[in-house]
């Protein structure tokens, strides 16, 4: 259902990722979040659980990013 919605949203978002202000975002993170939101759209998953999963994805991305960022190594 709504078979193209996720692809359309993804196209619009990915086209903007190269802007410096979105430097902290990766295509993989965007993809995972859209997948999660998609589940929320089409599945009987409770909303709080989806939000917790989104939070978890962002936390993991932040942790990874801070490890890779040499300025934060101290």
């Amino acid at each position: 259902m709504f078979k193209d919605a996720k692809n359309l949203a993804q196209e619009s978002i990915l086209a903007r990722l190269s802007q410096p202000k979105f430097e902290c975002l990766t295509p993989a993170l965007v993809q995972r979040l859209l997948d999660l939101a998609w589940m929320h759209q089409t599945d009987a998953e409770p909303r709080q659980r989806i939000r917790a999963a989104i939070k978890d994805e962002i936390s993991k991305a932040a942790l990874l990013s801070s490890k890779e960022d040499p300025s934060l190594e101290d």
Binding site: K3, F22, Q41
Partner: protein
């Protein structure tokens, strides 16, 4: 999703339990259900809606009460009976049983629905909870887009009207349909989720910052702004809800006005005729008065009347005298014969001799005949004919009396016209039927008022949005100051940075996402139009940025007014386009979708159906498509043919052909 079977219990014209097997193979996905009007085609289609969502709406969006859907013969006075619909569907290679049942009781005036219950289960397994059942049904076929897959001629006509109108109602309908098809709500919900997660990260950072003396004031300020934003967001939600309810009310009025469009011309005609009749009756009275006056003041008029009366008397006398004259002629001929027999002593007819006794008889008969002629009060008809000729001359002259003659003619004509108008008023009254005399002006007034209120609400929403945006900028500035604090956990800071960036990128992508949806539906509808159209100039469906739908020709110019058949094809292409972009693997059910489409385009519609790979169920009347024509058109794509036939008064059954 594929429908394997439908079981109807006391539903529509189907009394008792009736099963409809619709299972088809992938190579032969077409099902044709034949049935005359009133046999139960629409009831069968509505059973799908009711089973899945518990409600049925007519083509104009009005809810059909459940008791009107139930078989009205199913129970006697005061008794109750069960009714319901059970579907077996295949979804993601698994079979599910969806069953919605209820109880009705026959009350003196109507059926009363006493209970309804939904049951959903994978075949052979335990039923799901009600909320999970509803979620599963929406996962299979979202209610918001179900009418792209289940539609009838009425729905098609309603879409066609909205597309033709191209006013703000029509554009809103197109925009909503497009956004329903592609799930704009998906992006809305994602933005809301990211915002909520981001707010959680922000609170966590504020919690840390609070521990630092110099950040405490900033945190307090931030919390104040957050509270303001929350209040503004709550105001916005209320405004949006209010606007939605006003839009619904306006939609209802628009629908009513749409219905009234059908009778509006008749009402206007009737109103004009009623005014005409009033004014004509007055003029006729004046003419009659004038005639009376002329008649009273004219010597010729009463004389003319007298002449008419004399003529009538003379005509009667002439007729009478003519009859006597004819009878006398016969009597005289008889007398002549008898006298000749007497003088010749023999019968002139048979030659027999007249003896003494016969002679006496003949003499007696001659006397009788003389008496018969003598007794009559007879005047020669020639006298009457002469008098009548003279009178005719007088009357001819009296007819030339110009004023009276004109008045009489004019009154007779006016009388006839008045009678014709009165009869047309009666005829219009019957056509308008039970709708009565709706105050269209009042409805249009109400609609205009609601449109103004919607504009006001939109203006207020924009103001609230602007305030929220300002507050968000302030919040952002404070957040950045808090984030700059060197003692904060860098990972927490990163989380907020990422969630903020996600929030921003989603907001910036939203309009493009929406625009892409429009283009997708436009392309899908154009693709279907090309398959449905037999005219080379109908090349493309255009959905403008303002959501106006039109057909374009080969040079991409808008075709100003397509024929009514092509308006219907445009509506079908639009619905088909919505269905195609919303989900390609669903069944489609079409109830008598041909309408005003000509035979050439009907064939193309059938070709389009034949080329679809999903289960397609079409309900047709015999005048539209016979079983042999269906077999010929669909060939090996034909999966099943069924017929809904009359079983008795108000009762039908379904048979496999």
């Amino acid at each position: 999703m594929k429908i394997r079977s439908i079981q109807l219990t006391n539903w529509g014209p189907f009394e008792g339990v009736h099963s409809i097997h619709l299972d088809v193979s992938a190579g032969s996905p077409v099902v044709v259900v034949h049935g005359e009007n009133g046999r139960g085609k629409t009831s069968t289609m509505r059973s799908l809606f009711w089973c899945l969502y518990g409600t049925v709406r007519d083509g104009y969006g009005y809810k059909v009460p459940t008791h009107e859907l139930v078989n009205n013969q199913c129970c006697n006075d005061g008794q109750s009976s069960e009714f319901g619909v059970q579907l077996i569907v295949e979804f993601d290679a698994k079979d599910y049983e969806i069953s919605r049942t209820g109880k009705v009781r026959q009350m003196p005036d109507a059926l009363n629905v006493e209970s309804e219950e939904l049951s959903f289960r994978p075949v052979g397994e335990h039923p799901y909870s009600e909320s999970k059942s509803i979620d599963m049904i929406n996962l299979m076929l979202e209610e918001a887009i179900a009418d792209f897959y289940l539609f009838d001629g009425e729905k098609l006509a309603s879409v066609e009207k909205k597309l033709n109108k191209n006013d703000s109602d029509g554009q809103q309908f197109v925009q909503r349909s497009v956004e329903r098809a592609l799930g704009l709500s998906f992006a809305d919900r994602l933005m809301s989720d990211i915002e909520s997660v981001s707010s959680g990260f922000s609170d966590a950072i504020s919690g840390q910052a609070k521990l630092l003396d110099d950040s405490e004031k900033l945190v307090l300020k931030k919390q104040g702004i957050e509270a303001d934003i929350e209040n503004l967001a709550s105001d916005k939600r209320k405004l949006v809800e209010m606007r939605a309810s006003i839009e619904r009310a306006r939609g209802d009025i628009a629908n009513k006005l749409q219905d009234f469009d059908l009778i509006r011309d008749r009402l206007v005609e009737r109103q004009l005729l009623e005014a005409d009749v009033l004014s004509d009756s007055k003029k006729l009275d004046e003419k009659r008065e004038e005639l009376r006056h002329e008649a009273d003041s004219s010597w010729y008029w009463p004389i003319s009347k007298k002449l008419d009366a004399i003529t009538l008397d003379l005509e009667e006398s002439y007729d009478k005298s003519k009859k006597i004259d004819e009878s006398n002629s016969k009597t005289l001929a008889q007398l002549h014969l008898l006298e000749s027999n007497l003088s010749s002593h023999s019968c002139s007819l048979c030659g027999a001799e007249v003896d003494e006794s016969s002679k006496k008889g003949i003499e007696s008969r001659i006397k009788d005949l003389h008496r018969q002629i003598g007794d009559q009060d007879f005047e020669d008809p020639i006298v009457f004919a002469d008098q009548l000729r003279k009178l005719s001359g007088y009357r001819e002259k009296s007819k030339r009396f110009p004023v009276l003659e004109e008045l009489v003619k004019s009154i007779a004509n006016s009388d006839l016209e008045l009678l014709t108008k009165k009869s047309r008023i009666l005829e219009l009254g019957e056509q308008i039927g039970s709708v009565g005399n709706p105050d269209i002006l009042m409805l249009e007034n109400d609609k205009d008022k609601l449109t103004t209120r919607i504009s006001e609400s939109e203006r207020l929403e924009e103001q609230v949005d602007a305030k929220i945006s300002t507050e968000r900028s302030s919040l952002k500035a404070i957040q950045l100051k808090i984030q700059e604090s060197p003692d904060l956990d860098p990972v927490e800071r990163k989380k907020l940075e990422i969630s903020d960036a996600l929030d921003q990128i989603l907001r910036e992508s939203y309009d493009e996402f929406r625009e892409n949806m429009r283009l997708q539906v436009e392309a899908a509808s154009s693709n279907i139009l090309l398959q449905l159209s037999s005219e080379v100039e109908y090349q493309k469906v255009s959905i403008s940025p303002k959501y106006q739908v039109a057909m374009l020709d080969t040079s991409h110019q808008v075709l100003p007014s397509p024929s009514s058949g092509y308006s219907q094809i445009l509506a079908l292409a639009f619905i088909g386009g919505l269905a195609d972009v919303a989900g390609s693997d669903n069944f489609v059910v079409m109830d008598t979708p041909w309408g005003r489409v000509d035979r050439g385009n009907r064939k193309l519609i059938m070709k389009w159906i034949r080329e679809r790979s999903n289960q397609t169920i079409i309900f047709v009347q015999s005048g539209e498509l016979t079983p042999s024509e269906a077999r010929e058109h669909f060939g090996n794509k034909m999966g099943r043919q069924l017929s809904i036939v009359r079983q008795g008064p108000n009762s039908s059954k379904i048979e496999e052909i």
